[in-house]
C-alpha cells in the first residue's frame, strides 16, 4: 500500500514552495521517541536524494522525569539540494512535543527580519502542570514568547488518541504513538516519501500486527492531517542534491567504524578480537560487531575497560588483531596497557569516541578534548600513531587505516572519533573495499639469526619488529613490560640501550609519515587565513571557508587525519598563510601542538559547549582576523 493511495481525493491542493535547504529539529521527552522520529525522517530524506547531516542530542538519563528541561531529547537534521556539511546553524522548523522541548530549543530557531523559522507545538502538552515542569511562569503560546515565529499549533495527543480510538491499545501505548503522527505530518510538510517508514514499520513489527497497524494508521493520519487542516498555508520541497553518482546508504559514524574494522579483518585475513566494555557513546560499536561473527570478528564483553584492552592485546600476542573502543574515561583506564603495547611492539587499535570531559563529564555531548591525552597521556616516552575521523563516512576508511598501520608498524594506534560523528548520519557512497590499500600480513616462522629467533630484529623500512605467534615452533620468545635489549628482546637495564630504544620507538612512529599522502588544501592554496582542523569539525569549517571566500577573502583549510605523526608537508602549507586559525571543540589542544612543532603563532577558536561548531561561528572569526589586521 502506498501512502499516496491513502491520501484523500483532494490531495495536493496545498501549494508547494521550493527551498534550497532546510534544518528541522524534533524535540521532546527522552521517552517520546524523538531519536526514532529523526532517524526515520533522515531515511526518507536520504531516499528523496538530498544531501544531509544530522545531530542527535539527547540526555544521559534513559528516562529523565517527564516534562523537565533536562529530559529533553532532540534530533536535528539539515538537508538540501546543495552540498550539506553541517547539521545546520539555525533551525527552520522546531517540532516541540512539550513546553520543556520548546524552552530548551527555541533559541536555535532562526529569527531574523528576512523571515523567521517555524515552531510546531503539541498544544495538548501545554497544561499548567506541563508549564510548571518546564519552568515556564506563563504559557509561551499566549504570552508573546513566540512572537515573530510562525507557529503551528497541533493537538498531537488528541489527534493521535482519536486516530487510535478503535484500536485495542492502552492509553500509554496510544500516547507513545504520537511521534508517528508528528513524523507523518513533517513528512507531508516537506514532501518526503512515507514508504521508507512504512517498510521499516513492517519489518520492525512483523510479529505484532496490531502494533504495526496502529503505527501505520497514525503515521498516515498525520500525513493526511497536513492536507486537511488549514494550519499550513504551504508545504515545501527540497530538490535532490547533485551528489556524485553511485550506490548510497545513510551511515552513522559508529556503524562506519564497525564496517571499517570488518573490512580490515576480511582484507588482511587477520581475525579481529574486539574487547570492549559498554560506554557512551562507543557502545554501538560493540553492538554492531557482535552481530558480525561470520566476518572474522570475535567480540568479548570484558569485565571492565582494562580487561577489554588486555584481552585485545592478548589476542594480538596470539597473532590476531586486538581492537578495543571506549570513550574518555575508558581511555584513562586503558593507558597502562597501551604502554605495554608500545614496549612489546604489538599491534593494537584503541578507538576513542570522545565525549565532553573531564571525568564523567557530559556523556552524551560531543567534544574533541582527548587529543592531547591520546598524543601524550602515558607514562614514559610513549609515542604512538594517532588518527582522527572527520565525517561519519570517513570513519570507515580511518578504521581500516588504523588497523593497517597498527599491523604494518607493530604498534598501538589511537583512533579518535566523537559523539557527534558516532551518532550523526550522512549519505554515504558505498565504497569498494577492494580499492582500499593492500593489507599484507607476515608472521615470523623460523629463526632470524643463526638458530635463534630475535623478536626485536626490525624491518629497515618500517622499523617494525618480527611478529611470531604462539603455536609456531622454533620462534618461542618472551615479551614484557621491562625494557628490551634492542636486538634480543631480553630484559635490559643498560643505560645506552634504553636511550636507543626510546629513540627507536619514536623513530618507528615517525616512519608512519611515509603513509601520509600530500596535504590537500581546501579553498585557497595560500593567502590570509589557513584554518587547521581535525576530526568532526570538517563540515563546519568547510561551510565557513565557503562563506568567507564568497566574501572575497583568501582562506584555505587543511583537515588533518594523522595527528601523529603530522603530515611531512604541513609546515610548508602553514608557511603560505598569514594567519593560522585552529577551531576545536576543546579549550585549545591541536593549537599547542602546531605552535610547538612549527613555532607559528596559531590562534585558537575554542567551543566547549558539548555541541558542534556552527559554520557562522567560524566564519565570523575568520572575518575578524582579517579586518583587525593593521
Amino acid at each position: 500500500m502506498s501512502a499516496l493511495d491513502l491520501l484523500p481525493a483532494d490531495a495536493a491542493r496545498t501549494p508547494v514552495l521550493s527551498l534550497p535547504e532546510v534544518t528541522i529539529l524534533f524535540a521532546g521527552d527522552s521517552g517520546d521517541g524523538m531519536q526514532l522520529t529523526g532517524g526515520q525522517f533522515t531515511l526518507a530524506t536520504a531516499k528523496a536524494r538530498n544531501d544531509l547531516a544530522t545531530l542527535p542530542d539527547f540526555p544521559a538519563e534513559i528516562r529523565a522525569p517527564a516534562g523537565t528541561t533536562y529530559g529533553v531529547s532532540g534530533f536535528q537534521l539539515h538537508f538540501g539540494a546543495t552540498e550539506i556539511s553541517t547539521p545546520g546553524d539555525e533551525v527552520d522548523l522546531l517540532v516541540a512535543m512539550n513546553p520543556a522541548a520548546l524552552k530548551v530549543n527555541l533559541h536555535r530557531v532562526r529569527k531574523s527580519s528576512e523571515g523567521s523559522g517555524a515552531v510546531l507545538v503539541n498544544t495538548n502538552a501545554f497544561e499548567q502542570r506541563d508549564l510548571n515542569l518546564a519552568g515556564y511562569e506563563s504559557n509561551p503560546l499566549e504570552d508573546g514568547t513566540l512572537d515573530g515565529y510562525e507557529v503551528f499549533p497541533v493537538e498531537l495527543t488528541r489527534l493521535t488518541r482519536e486516530a487510535l480510538a478503535d484500536f485495542d491499545l492502552s492509553t500509554k501505548e496510544v500516547d507513545r504513538s504520537k511521534n508517528m503522527f508528528a513524523l507523518g505530518l513533517a513528512l507531508w510538510l516537506y514532501t518526503r516519501p512515507v514508504e521508507p517508514t512504512l517498510e521499516w514499520l513492517e519489518a520492525k513489527f512483523a510479529t505484532k500486527p496490531d502494533i504495526l497497524e496502529a503505527n501505520r494508521h497514525v503515521l498516515t493520519k498525520g500525513y493526511h492531517f497536513g492536507e486537511t487542516t488549514e494550519t499550513f498555508a504551504a508545504r515545501y520541497e527540497v530538490a535532490p542534491a547533485t551528489l556524485p553518482p553511485g550506490l548510497y546508504r545513510a551511515i552513522r559514524g559508529n556503524e562506519a567504524l564497525a564496517l571499517g574494522l570488518v573490512t580490515a579483518a576480511v582484507r588482511s585475513g587477520l581475525e579481529i578480537v574486539y574487547g570492549s566494555y559498554p560506554i557512551t557513546p562507543a557502545s554501538d560499536l560493540l553492538h554492531a560487531l557482535s552481530k558480525h561473527k561470520n566476518f572474522g570478528v570475535l567480540t568479548v564483553q570484558a569485565e571492565d575497560e582494562i580487561a577489554a584492552v588486555g584481552a585485545a592485546l592478548g589476542a594480538s600476542f596470539a597473532g590476531r588483531l586486538g581492537v578495543t573502543a571506549t570513550s574518555g574515561p575508558g581511555l584513562a583506564l586503558k593507558t597502562e596497557f597501551v604502554g605495554l603495547g608500545i614496549i612489546t611492539e604489538l599491534p593494537l587499535v584503541v578507538i576513542d569516541v570522545q565525549r565532553a570531559g573531564p571525568s564523567t563529564g557530559m556523556p552524551t555531548k560531543t567534544e574533541q578534548s582527548d587529543l592531547l591525552f591520546a598524543l601524550y597521556g602515558r607514562n614514559g616516552d610513549a609515542p604512538l600513531p594517532v588518527i582522527a575521523a572527520s565525517t561519519p563516512g570517513d570513519c570507515y576508511e580511518v578504521a581500516y587505516e588504523a588497523c593497517r598501520i597498527a599491523v604494518k608498524y607493530m604498534t598501538p594506534v589511537i583512533l579518535l572519533s566523537d559523539g557527534y560523528l558516532g551518532n550523526g548520519a550522512e549519505p554515504w557512497p558505498i565504497p569498494d573495499p577492494d580499492a582500499l590499500r593492500d593489507f599484507p600480513v607476515t608472521f615470523a616462522t623460523e629463526p632470524n639469526r643463526g638458530d635463534e629467533f630475535l623478536p626485536y630484529l626490525r624491518d629497515d623500512t618500517t622499523l617494525a619488529r618480527a611478529w611470531a605467534k604462539p603455536g609456531t615452533p622454533n620462534v618461542e620468545h618472551r615479551l614484557g613490560g621491562l625494557e628490551k635489549d634492542r636486538e634480543t628482546g631480553g630484559v635490559s637495564y643498560d643505560p645506552e640501550n634504553h636511550e636507543a630504544m626510546t629513540k627507536l620507538r619514536a623513530a618507528k612512529v615517525e616512519r608512519v609519515q611515509q603513509e601520509i599522502p600530500p596535504t590537500e588544501v581546501y579553498g585557497d592554496d595560500s593567502g590570509d587565513v589557513l584554518i587547521v582542523g581535525w576530526g568532526s569539525t570538517r563540515g563546519s569549517i568547510e561551510a565557513a571557508v565557503k562563506s568567507a571566500r564568497a566574501d572575497g577573502l583568501t582562506v584555505g583549510h587543511v583537515h588533518i587525519r594523522w595527528l601523529n605523526p603530522l603530515p611531512p608537508d604541513l609546515g610548508d602549507v602553514l608557511s603560505r598563510f598569514e594567519h593560522i586559525l585552529v577551531p576545536e571543540l576543546n579549550n585549545g589542544q591541536l593549537v599547542h601542538v602546531l605552535r610547538d612543532r612549527f613555532l607559528r603563532p596559531a590562534e585558537s577558536l575554542a567551543k566547549i559547549q558539548g555541541l558542534p561548531f556552527k559554520a557562522s561561528e567560524i566564519a565570523k572569526r575568520i572575518r575578524e582576523m582579517i579586518t583587525t589586521e593593521p
Partner: protein
Amino acid sequence: MADNEKKPTRPPGTKKPTLAPKKASLPTGKKPTLPPKAGGPKRPPGAKPSRPPGRLVPDPGGDGAPALTKKDFASDADVRWCPGCGDYAVLAAVQRVLPDLTEKKENTVFISGIGCSSRFPYYMNTYGMHTIHGRAPTVATGLKCANPDLDVWLVTGDGDALSIGGNHFAHLLRRNLDVQVLLFNNQIYGLTKGQYSPTSEPGKVTKSSPYGSLDHPFNPVSLALGADASFVARTLDRDPKHMQAMLRAAHAHTGTGFVEVYQNCNIFNDGAFFRYTERDTKPHTTLFLEDGEPLVYDEGTKGLRLDGLRLESIDLTSGDWSADDCLVYDATDRTLAGIMSRLFWDEELPQPFGVLYREERPTYERLLREQQQAVVAKRGTGDLHDLLRSGETWTIE
C-alpha cells in the same frame, strides 16, 4: 585433646546447634618461631600424593621426534630470585612436569602480572608475556579466545591476583577459561620490599604497618570458590611431589585450574608457612585431601568428621573412633569444599591441601567459538560487499 571434651554442654532438650562459633583462627601478627629443618618433610600415611590422570603424553618421542626434557623448558635467562626463595621450587616443579604434559613446547604460554613470581615467564623457554600488575587474566583471556589450542599458564602472586587484580581474578574464574593459575602466596609484598599483602595476617608489622596491619586477609581458596572456580587446589613450596601432583591435576582439568602455592619469602616473611611445611608441626597441622578417601591426618592418628556442618577432629587412637567414622572426601561436592576451605589457620584443626573442588563445565573460549561457528553455519561466511550494501540503499545516476 579428646573429642568429647570439645563438645559444648547443652541443657537437656535443647536443639543441638549445627554451626559452632568459629574458633580463634588467624594468628595475630606473630612470626612463626619454628626454624626450617633440614631434610624434606615426611608425608603422613593416608595422604599419599594423588596422581590424577594428567594429559600425559602417551608415547613421548614415539613419533620419532625426541622427547622433551626439563632442560628444554629452561630459558637462557639467569634466574634472579633471592637465594632460598620458594619460587625456585615452583619453577623446578613446572619444568619437571611439563615434558610429561606436552609434546608441543610451542603451544605452551606463560602469562604473568607484576611481582616476584611474575618474572616466571622469562625463565621458561616457551612463549611468554610479563604483562602489567594484576592484569594477566585479561591478556590470557584474549590469548585463549584467539587461539583455544594454546596451553596457557598464569603465574601470579597474592598482591597481583588478589589486590590490584582482584577483579580480573574473579571474572577469570567465573568464565572458566581453560588455563592453569599458579598463585604464589607468600603473604607479603616482596618486590616492593616488604609491605603487608591482602593475605597477610591481621596485626602484621611491616614497613607500611609499623603498628600492625588492620586488614582482614583473604582466604584465596574460599575466594576462588566464591567466584565459582571449577578447580581449586592448594599446595606447598616445600612439598615438591605434592606440588607436581597438583600441577598435573590442574593441567588435566578442562577449565580454570586454580592452584594456591604457599610460598616462603625468606627475606621479608620468612617462615610464614613453617607451621605447615616443617617436620615438627606438619603432621598435625596439615591434612592432604584424597578424593574418595577418609579425612585422616597426623600419621593416621587423627581424622575429621562432620558434626552438623562443623568439622571436628577425632582421635583414631582412643578406640572410640576409627577411619570409618571419618568424613570421606568428595571433591565434586561444592558444599563440602566450602566447609573445607574455611579451615584456615585454625588452632585446633588441620589446614587442607590438595584438590578442594573440581567440576566439569564448559569453558568460555569453547562457548565463544561454538557460538561463532553456529553463526557461520547458519548465515554462511559473510560477504563484505553485501554487508556494505545492507540496509536501505539508493542509486544516484
